[in-house]
C-alpha cells in the first residue's frame, strides 16, 4: 500500500532535526543552514510530483547527501574527478568547531567518505540505506565508511 504524500509542513517537522544533524557534521556548522535550505527547497520543488509518501526520510536524506557532496565540490580548491573518490580533503568554508581535534579530523576526510561516515556513525544508518542514499552499491558504501573511519582513527592518533 502506498501512503499519500503528507502536507509539506508535517514532512519538514518530521525530518528537519535529522537533516540538520547530518549536514552539521557533513559540511560543518557554518554551512549547514544554507545546505539545509537548499535541501528543503529542492524537496519542495519536487514535492507535487511525488506519488508515494513512503520513506520520505530516505528521500530527503538522499537530496541532502547530494547537496553536501556538491557543496564540497563547489568550495573545493581543485577540480575533482567525478568517476573516483577524490583524494583531497573536504573543505569547510571556514574552520568550524575551533580546535576540537575531532572536527579537524572530520574536515580532513574526502567528501564522499565524510558523508558515508556521518550516515553510519551519526545517524546509525545501515549499509543498505547508505548505498541508496549515496547512489552507490552496498560494497562501495561499506568501503567509504571503512576508509573514512580508518582515516579518522589515524588523524586522531
Amino acid at each position: 500500500m502506498e501512503t499519500s504524500v503528507p502536507p509539506f509542513q508535517d514532512f519538514l517537522e518530521a525530518n528537519r532535526a535529522m537533516v540538520h544533524r547530518f549536514l552539521t557534521v557533513a559540511v560543518g556548522p557554518l554551512e549547514a543552514d544554507d545546505c539545509f535550505q537548499e535541501t528543503f527547497l529542492s524537496a519542495l520543488k519536487a514535492y507535487p510530483r511525488l506519488a508515494n509518501g513512503d520513506r520520505l526520510d530516505r528521500w530527503v536524506l538522499r537530496i541532502a547527501s547530494r547537496k553536501a557532496i556538491d557543496h564540497h565540490r563547489i568550495t573545493g580548491r581543485r577540480a575533482v574527478p567525478t568517476d573516483r573518490l577524490p583524494e583531497r580533503p573536504a573543505t569547510d568554508a571556514e574552520p568550524s568547531g575551533g580546535d576540537d581535534p575531532l572536527w579537524t579530523a572530520v574536515r580532513n576526510l574526502p567528501p564522499r567518505q565524510r558523508v558515508a561516515v556521518v550516515h553510519r556513525h551519526v545517524l546509525d544508518r545501515s549499509y543498505e540505506e547508505i548505498a541508496e542514499l549515496m547512489g552507490t552499491s552496498q560494497d562501495a558504501a561499506r568501503a567509504s565508511v571503512h576508509q573514512g573511519t580508518k582515516r579518522l582513527r589515524e588523524l586522531m592518533r
Binding site: 502536507p7 528537519r16 519542495l44 511525488l50
Partner: protein, 203 residues
C-alpha cells in the same frame, strides 16, 4: 577512537533547536521562489485560535480549533497542493485584517478570497450571504429564495455549515426565521460571539 564520538559534534537536542530556526527561514525563500502554494498561520481571536490558509489567490480556509489540524492540512494537501508551509510573511495581510475585525476596527474584509474549496452550490449561497452587511442578519429561507430555490432552506443551512472560510464569508449572519440562532459549524457560542461583536444581537 570510537566513531560514535562523532555524535557529539551535532547533539540531537541542538539539531532540534537549530533546525527549527532554519525551517522558519524556509517559507520566505519558498514564497520568493514561487514554491509556496498554501501558507499557514494561527490567529488568536475571541473565538479561540483560528488556523488560516492563504494561497496566491487569497484566503482559502479558516478553521476553528475544534477541527483537527491534521484533518485541515490533509484536506488542503489533497484539494489544493501539498506544498503547505507556515509563513508569517505571506499571511501577514490576512492576519492583520482579522485582528482589526475582532478589535472592532473593521466591518468588511478587503483582501481576496480563494473559493476553490467551495462547491458551485455553496458559492451561490455564499454570494447571497455576502450581501448581508456587518450588523445585519437574514434567514435561511430568505437566502434560499434569493438563489431561486425558495423551498431549499435546509439545503442552504447545509451549505452554510460547510463554509470553508467562516467569519470572512459571513454564514453567521443567517438565522432561523423567527429569530432563533439556527446552527453553526463552529458551535452556537461562536455564532453568538460574532453576532454580538457585530451588534446584531441584543442580549
Amino acid at each position: 577512537m570510537n566513531p560514535n564520538e562523532l555524535k557529539r559534534l551535532a547533539p540531537a537536542p541542538r539539531a532540534a533547536a537549530s533546525s527549527k530556526l532554519a525551517a522558519a527561514g524556509l517559507s520566505d525563500a519558498a514564497a520568493r521562489g514561487g514554491l509556496l502554494d498554501v501558507a499557514l498561520a494561527t490567529v488568536g481571536s475571541p473565538l479561540g485560535d483560528l488556523l488560516i490558509a492563504v494561497t496566491p489567490r487569497g484566503l482559502a480556509r479558516l478553521a476553528f480549533d475544534l477541527e483537527s489540524r491534521d484533518d485541515v492540512l490533509g484536506e488542503l494537501a489533497d484539494r489544493l497542493s501539498p506544498r503547505i508551509l507556515e509563513s508569517a510573511a505571506v499571511t501577514a495581510d490576512w492576519r492583520r485584517e482579522l485582528e482589526e475585525y475582532f478589535d472592532g476596527q473593521r466591518i468588511r474584509f478587503g483582501l481576496r478570497v480563494d473559493r476553490r474549496l467551495l462547491s458551485p452550490f455553496v458559492r451561490r449561497v455564499m454570494d447571497e450571504t455576502a450581501r448581508v452587511p456587518f450588523g445585519r442578519t437574514t434567514t435561511y429561507g430568505a437566502v434560499a429564495g434569493r438563489i431561486g430555490h425558495p423551498r431549499a432552506a435546509r439545503a442552504v443551512g447545509t451549505a452554510l455549515g460547510s463554509n470553508p472560510i467562516p467569519v470572512v464569508l459571513p454564514c453567521h449572519r443567517v438565522l432561523r426565521a423567527g429569530g432563533s440562532l439556527g446552527g453553526y459549524a463552529g458551535g452556537l457560542d461562536r455564532k453568538t460571539i460574532l453576532l454580538s461583536l457585530e451588534g446584531a444581537l441584543t442580549l
